[in-house]
Symmetry: C4
Subunit: 265 residues, 4 copies
């Protein structure tokens, strides 16, 4: 806690904030965020338009996210700092994502969330425009449910972008205590306690959507993951163990992402 307050003080010295040497903890989050951007792109979960953010490790009222840029190209110097109003904490001329309010309002509503991904996950979108619920075959984190948010219900005719706090709040409200919410005709939002778990969930949200689409094509009744099974799976996943869970896939995805997208600094 002392460390957090100290860091917060450091940030408040005018003019020095941006140049202060980041703590090891902050540097680690930025590294994960850059790698996470690359992974989501290489794994075909975001196209040019998704984004991923992390809550600031020293200040829960701030979050970190790239300037407006395709995730596959993001480097460490693209990462900017935002407040929970969705605005930059320091003046910066570079363009910012219009939909930063997805992130700011989820961080505001969900203190347990430390990373947010917004994707245009290709097999997930069809579930957002039909009446077929996205239910879990393998993705335990789909419980309690995967709600669908429609801008039309909250705000009438819009351009579908979550480009202000009011829309962000409405989306966060639909998300509730779930880990994934679909956005009609647009994509989805995935939240998690860390960048690595958020990336893991975003990738397996797409994977589960593919499995369910194929099961629907085979026809007949489908055996979904039971809530009791999902709870036991999540208990295992939530324990960080080297070589297991999202740690194992992160090592693999990171290596692939770096091989395919070049330098991160």
């Amino acid at each position: 806690m002392a460390k957090k307050r100290q860091a917060a003080r450091a940030r408040k010295k005018p003019g020095s904030a941006g140049k202060a040497r980041p703590s090891a903890e902050l540097k680690a989050v930025i590294d994960d965020l850059v790698i996470g951007n690359r992974i989501l792109y290489v794994q075909d979960v975001v196209d040019g338009y998704g984004h991923i953010s992390a809550r600031h490790p020293h200040d829960p009222e701030r979050f970190l996210m790239s300037r407006a840029r395709a995730p596959g190209l993001v480097v460490a110097s693209d990462i900017m700092e935002f407040g929970l109003d969705g605005e930059l904490t320091r003046p910066d001329a570079r363009p910012v994502y219009s939909e930063r309010f997805i992130h700011s309002e989820v961080y505001r509503a969900r203190p347990d969330v430390h990373a947010v991904v917004h994707t245009h996950s290709p097999t997930v979108i069809p579930f957002s425009v039909t009446q077929v619920p996205l239910r879990p075959i393998r993705a335990a984190f789909f419980y309690p449910e995967v709600p669908v948010f429609d801008t039309r219900a909250s705000a009438g005719w819009t351009n579908l972008l979550i480009s202000n706090s009011a829309l962000g709040k409405a989306l966060a409200q639909t998300l509730g205590q779930n880990s994934v919410a679909l956005m009609r005709g647009h994509g989805n939002v995935v939240v998690a306690p860390s960048v690595r778990v958020a990336v893991y969930r975003a990738i397996y949200t797409e994977a589960n959507a593919k499995l369910l689409l194929q099961a629907k094509m085979l026809g007949g009744p489908i055996t979904y993951l039971a809530p009791e099974e999902a709870a036991l799976m999540e208990t295992v996943q939530s324990r960080h163990r080297p070589g297991h869970g999202s740690d194992r896939t992160w090592e693999m995805w990171k290596q692939e992402a770096l091989a395919r997208t070049g330098k991160v600094r």
Copy 2:
């Protein structure tokens, strides 16, 4: 306007036209055209047979397009100049696309159009041979509609190629004021105010076709983009803002295309 007339005069000096140093504006269009060819190939929107053209920046009565060559291989020196009759403006022994009349007749009919793409987009073709209309889930530019052109209706038995002005005119008439028209059993034509937006639309036409096919497989009613929503989306897209819209994806697609297909000059 003075600049355009000057350029037109320069071109008319016999023998000098082809050798005149291209203006920065012309060079930029040629660069985009070459990169656009590569992007369309790397993004799997064209196979060996599609093509992309741009209206000449100094003379609306001319357009630029590669010699007859697979888009993934096009380099700057392949770009040739055509008149609105679909013929070369200067003698050149290299082969030309048989279907150049798609481009010439669209430029004639639509002064607002500055780039035309003809693709064999794999998930779009099925919509051209069934009664299922290609409607927008995410692709706002599908409004007013995506008509289907059938050579059989205009010209009876043909080899399906738009290889003369009459067929080009008939296709342009079916396209009307829309941005996309399907060509039965063959592919589609996509038009836009610039090369970058044309590439963007061609890629998202395929993406929307995939989403719609999957939504159909899930079954039940589908929530399409409303025309009011699409109009608001198009308003945003039509403003060029660095880091946003087609500018963001162009940066990413360009980098990928160059990494995978080699030199452009």
Copy 3:
């Protein structure tokens, strides 16, 4: 013709045949055959088990094909010479494809055929085990029809491999004067007047199967290519014109294949 007889004589000198410097014409066919192997693999039309052959340019009673090897790995020195009995014309200890009788019997039955491809084309096989005929959406060479050969009908219980002349003859009979025949639960055979056209047809057989599968998934009536249209398309395709038809795609596929699979000699 004089050239052919001379070459045939040269081959008959015992012991010298294998070492004689190949004519430019023969070398060109071998080059195309090696590249064709690589292309079919890179374009996902063959897995480890398909093969492609060419009729010998100097002797219609012989054909050229790789030793038993995955197509993606074939180099020039793997190419062997076979007679129309399906056996090697010269002793060679290296393993040969069990299914060489597909090739030998087609060359025997069809003097017009100069190249044969046997693939395990993934989207074509489903058509071989259902009652849904593989009809043309874009593939003009599907006319008159795409028959299905079933070893069970000709020979009862077998291991499905065309591993003797009798099965080869039965398959050639089912193929008749068509360009493509399916082999139940196994793959297909594609024939053409040249290696390049055979590769083109094998790739577009798979492409058309994908289009038809997707059109079926959309539901409702499908507009197939009319036989009159197909005939006009084939007339264009059969004229070799640089930059057009299979010449254009060959240039692209060759470049891709070489970039992805390494040296050919």
Copy 4:
């Protein structure tokens, strides 16, 4: 046999076991195991979580498998030795796969099995959650049948992982004398007399699932491989012949896997 006993003796000298120079036979199995891991990953049959093991060539009571690591990253030094109780034969601080009991219990129940693959094969999982049996179109080794194992039936609510001997035994019992068993909502287990055949079967299990899914989408009756045909195919496959069967595909898959995933030692 003498060789095996000698090796077994060597292993029993306390402290020396781990350091003894492996026999050529053991080294060959470890090499195949590492390459097999890479192949399964490159061929998209395992994601970050599958695994492959081999029975120890000198001691049928032991088996070899990587430490807990994504298969695409496994190197020779990751390979550990386990007993049929699923536990390490020597102390080692590195993490082990929770689901090692899939392997140990199959080796215990099936003396004919020398390699076991556990995959999360994407098109196979849908068959595990529907009532549609995975039947053979091309995969002869699906006979007698492909049973489905459900942890729920054996053990009620679990996290679906086969993380103890009791669950491993229940799975082995469902597998019976078959080559493949599905695991509901999770993946499948594939067994074979060697690493190369196990890899071959795991890849063609996924391939056959894709063919069957597509055949189902075309609709109508499906002609499956008859048991008599399958038996004849398996007879051919079980004879090791250079250039044929799994030998041909292994050469190709190995080359691809090494090109895409880097060093193995």
